[in-house]
Symmetry: C2
Subunit: 227 residues, 2 copies
DNA sequence: CATGAATTTAACTCAGCGGTACATTTTTGT
DNA sequence: ACAAAAATGTACCGCTGAGTTAAATTCATG
C-alpha cells in the first residue's frame, strides 16, 4: 500500500511489502480490546477480524486458535504493566517515602490500565488456567516484589519498620486496594453510588490507602484524620 | 413421583403433583453453579437444562431467556449474602470490638461465598448492566452500611474513632481485602505461589486486615507486629 | 526467471446453541 | 363436570461463530 517501492521501516534484511510484525501487532491490539471487553467466550473472532486491518485467516495463521490469541493478549498486558512499574525508581528514597511512592504508583498504574484489570478478572474466572501455562508471566512479577523487599529490608535496618514486615503480604495488600478499586467499580457504583470514584475522592482514597499501608508497617505512624 | 397420593410438603392450598416453586428453585440452583463457573456467555442453556430435574422448555417458561435467568441468579446470590451478613449482630459490643468483628465477619463471609464472588466479577465484566436493572439489590446493601454507620457514630461519640471516619469508605476498604482475597486467588497464586492462601496464613491475614482497619479508624491504635 | 517458502484472500463447513411451535397433561375456578 | 389456565414434553429451527480448504500473491535467492 506504500506508493513508493522503497523499504517501509523494517529493520530486517531488506524491504518487505507485507509486514508480518505489524500485522501481528495490529491483531493483538484489537484482540486485547475485544477480549477485555467481552471475555474469552464473549469475544468474537469474526468481529475481531473485521476490526483489524487484515483477515480472520491471518489470526489463525499467527495464533493458531482463539485460545492462542487469548494467551498472547494476556501475556501482552502483563508485560506492559511490568513496563510501567519498572519505570518507577525508589532505590534512593528513604524507606518510608519510598513505600508511600510505591503504593501510590501501584494505585495509579492500576487505575490507568483497565485492560489489564479486566483481563486479569477474566483470567481468574477461568481459574488462571491460561496464565499457568505462561512461562514469562511469573518472571515479570518478580520485579515489584524485589522492590518491596528492598524497601522492607532498608526500613527494618533503620529501625523504622516492624520486624516481620513482609514483601509478599505487602504486595497482596496494596494490590487489593488498587485492583478492587478498578475491577468492582460497576457493581459498587450500582449499590452505593459513584461518589467514591470521583476524581477528588479518588485522590483522597489514594492518600488514605497509602497512609494505611504505612500505618501497618511503619512503627508509630499515625494516619491523618479522614475527610 | 412420590408413591403415596398425599401432599408432598406444600404449604399452599392443597396437594400439588407438580411443584412450580421447587422447579424454579432447582433451575436457579443449577444455573447459579453454571453461570458462576462459566460466565454469562460461557454458560450453556442446554447444559443447565440437562443438569436440572426439568427441561429446557421450563427455563424459558419461567425466566424468559438466558439474560432473565442470569438476572435471577444474580439477585439470588446478593440476597443470600445479605442473609449471611444480617445474622451478625454487633449493636451491643463496644465500638472497637464491634468493628473488629464486622471486618472479620465480612472477610469470612466472602471466603465462604465463592459463587457470589464469581458472579459479581462476571457482572463487573458486563459493566454492571444487569445489576443496574435490579430493584432489590440496592436495598439489600443498605444493611451493611447501616451497621457501619452505627458503629462509626458510636465510636466517634465515645471519642475513640477519628472524626470523619466514614461508613462508605470503610466498607469500600473492607470489601477490597475480602473480595480480592477470593477473586484473584488464581492469578495471584500463579504469580506468587499459594502460601498466602493456606489455612494458617489466611487466619493471620484476616487478623492483620482487621488490625489495619482499626489502625486507620481508631485513635492511637497500634497494630501488632507481623509474623 | 524459475523455485519455493512465507504471507494473504475468499469462500466454505458444520455443529453448537439460543430460542420456538405445538401438542399434551395437570390444576383450578365455577 | 367442564372449560379455562397453568405447567410440561418433544421435536424442531435458524443463525452464529469457530475453524478449514485450497488457491493466489509476494518476496528472497540461485
Amino acid at each position: 500500500m506504500d506508493g513508493s517501492g522503497d523499504r517501509p521501516k523494517s529493520k530486517r534484511k531488506s524491504s518487505w511489502k507485507k509486514d508480518p510484525e505489524a500485522v501481528k501487532a495490529n491483531i493483538l491490539e484489537i484482540a486485547t480490546e475485544e477480549f477485555a471487553a467481552y471475555g474469552l467466550s464473549g469475544a468474537n473472532i469474526n468481529e475481531i477480524a473485521q476490526k483489524t486491518s487484515t483477515s480472520k485467516r491471518m489470526i489463525y495463521y499467527y495464533f493458531g486458535d482463539k485460545e492462542g490469541l487469548y494467551c498472547a493478549v494476556l501475556e501482552g498486558v502483563y508485560a506492559s504493566l511490568r513496563n510501567a512499574e519498572d519505570k518507577l525508581e525508589v532505590g534512593n528514597l528513604p524507606p518510608v517515602e519510598a513505600l508511600r511512592r510505591l503504593v501510590k504508583a501501584t494505585f495509579d498504574a492500576h487505575a490507568k490500565a483497565p485492560h489489564f484489570i479486566r483481563l486479569v478478572m477474566i483470567e481468574n474466572i477461568h481459574n488462571g488456567d491460561y496464565l499457568r501455562k505462561s512461562e514469562i508471566v511469573p518472571k515479570l512479577n518478580r520485579s515489584i516484589i524485589e522492590k518491596l523487599e528492598d524497601v522492607c529490608s532498608r526500613g527494618k535496618k533503620e529501625g523504622l519498620f516492624r520486624e516481620g514486615a513482609n514483601a509478599l503480604q505487602l504486595h497482596w495488600l496494596i494490590s487489593s486496594f488498587s485492583f478492587y478499586n478498578v475491577s468492582n467499580r460497576a457493581t459498587f457504583s450500582a449499590s452505593f453510588g459513584t461518589e467514591i470514584f470521583s476524581k477528588a475522592m479518588q485522590s483522597l482514597v489514594k492518600d488514605r490507602v497509602a497512609d494505611m499501608v504505612l500505618a501497618a508497617v511503619v512503627i508509630g505512624h499515625e494516619p491523618r484524620s479522614w475527610d
